[in-house]
Symmetry: none
Subunit: 123 residues, 4 copies
DNA sequence: GTGGTCTAGACCACG
DNA sequence: GTGGTCTAGACCACC
């Protein structure tokens, strides 16, 4: 399910967190269902349990999952995280765009770039 | 003019470099005009001169400024850096957009956000 | 493998960077293979780790290597840097030639020297 | 006769030294003729005499001029400097070319670049 | 263990 | 005074 790329520039824990986010966002891992245990996931991916611990801490801080002591980690309802995440995305996007404007980038160029990104992602 | 945010996770040398880039891009610091000296800027911001040195080295590598030993750092003509900077802008924009896609952000939402940024900048 | 010349007027971080570039260009250090760690290389050359850090930062900015935090620095695929490096080569070559012209060096002499270099390299 | 460019990236003393070298190489300043005094040249160019002092020290170390105590600086006979200068030029050229070869630069490309440099210098 | 950032302080080249 | 290089030593993020 999750494939690690050790040549990827991003740290391992972010790769895992991001893939789990996608799985949750797409509903492949359902709300209130249990996440795999830290130990099991670490063994499956053949990495240090510390790293998985950090992944879960990150997802929890973003509101994607919630822990129940002695039982494990569970997926939060969508409303708990999706809005905050999206909000930050748009804030960053706007700031980035405004920086482009100061360099004379045209609105058409920006939109073309965005549409290209969407097309590539579909494939 | 430049305010440092020590809570920001990005290194302060990047924060400074980015703000100086914007000032140069907007033409607030003019071509061939002299940048503040390494030591002076360091004192103004109450940080180590080495850190400013690093900022200027970064800006130089991007073509924004050029140093003359014994005299100071000066702003390069726009042609020297604007193309490279635009290229980087689109690379970052695309990466950011693709991250949004994984969160389920719609193309229409992105475009609306971009257009809003352009409208605000005009005013 | 790397010998430092403290009499050389160029900074040692550039001497090291240049030698590493040649090793990468010649394929002696292979794509995606790991570079020696900052601390180890510093100890081997008996210099400060900060200086090696600077070497690696320079090579990264040129696209020669990419870092993964907590794991090390790795060699980039050739396409990432070879074009930029060729461009710089011709810029330097032209500047050097023009300096020769001011000394009265003839075009024929220059070409003869170049051809000699190519012949020696083949053998 | 000598025009300084304060926006030039090279230090002032090198600009002056280089222009004097060209004048000597072209025979415009004749062998055994007297160079302008340090003070006079400094006043003519409106710069610090220290800088001219450094220029003359550089030219002397390269064999272009020789000082006579209490009288001034004089131009050396051509044989004293031109060969050493040219020799160094070819050594550097060869080293630079060989570095290009490791990047896959073709002989034809190098020669084309050289010829372009000569054409531009004529004009 | 790895890389990355920052400080403090020194020394050099240049004007 | 200016920029540039280097050292020593500290702290952080990551695995």
């Amino acid at each position: 399910m999750i494939i690690l790329d050790y040549q990827d520039r991003r740290p391992i824990y972010k790769q895992i967190a991001e893939k789990l986010q996608v799985l949750i966002n797409k509903g492949i891992i359902e709300t209130d269902s249990q996440m795999p245990s830290v130990r099991k996931l670490a063994m499956d991916l053949s990495i240090n349990p510390n790293t998985i611990q950090r992944v879960y801490a990150l997802l929890e801080s973003k509101g994607y999952i919630y822990p129940i002591k002695g039982r494990g980690n569970f997926v939060s309802p969508r409303e708990d995280f999706i809005d905050a995440e999206k909000g930050q995305f748009f804030v960053d996007l706007k700031a980035h765009t405004q920086q482009g404007i100061t360099m004379g980038v045209l609105l058409e160029e920006v939109i073309a770039c965005i549409e290209k990104a969407y097309k590539e992602e579909k494939s």
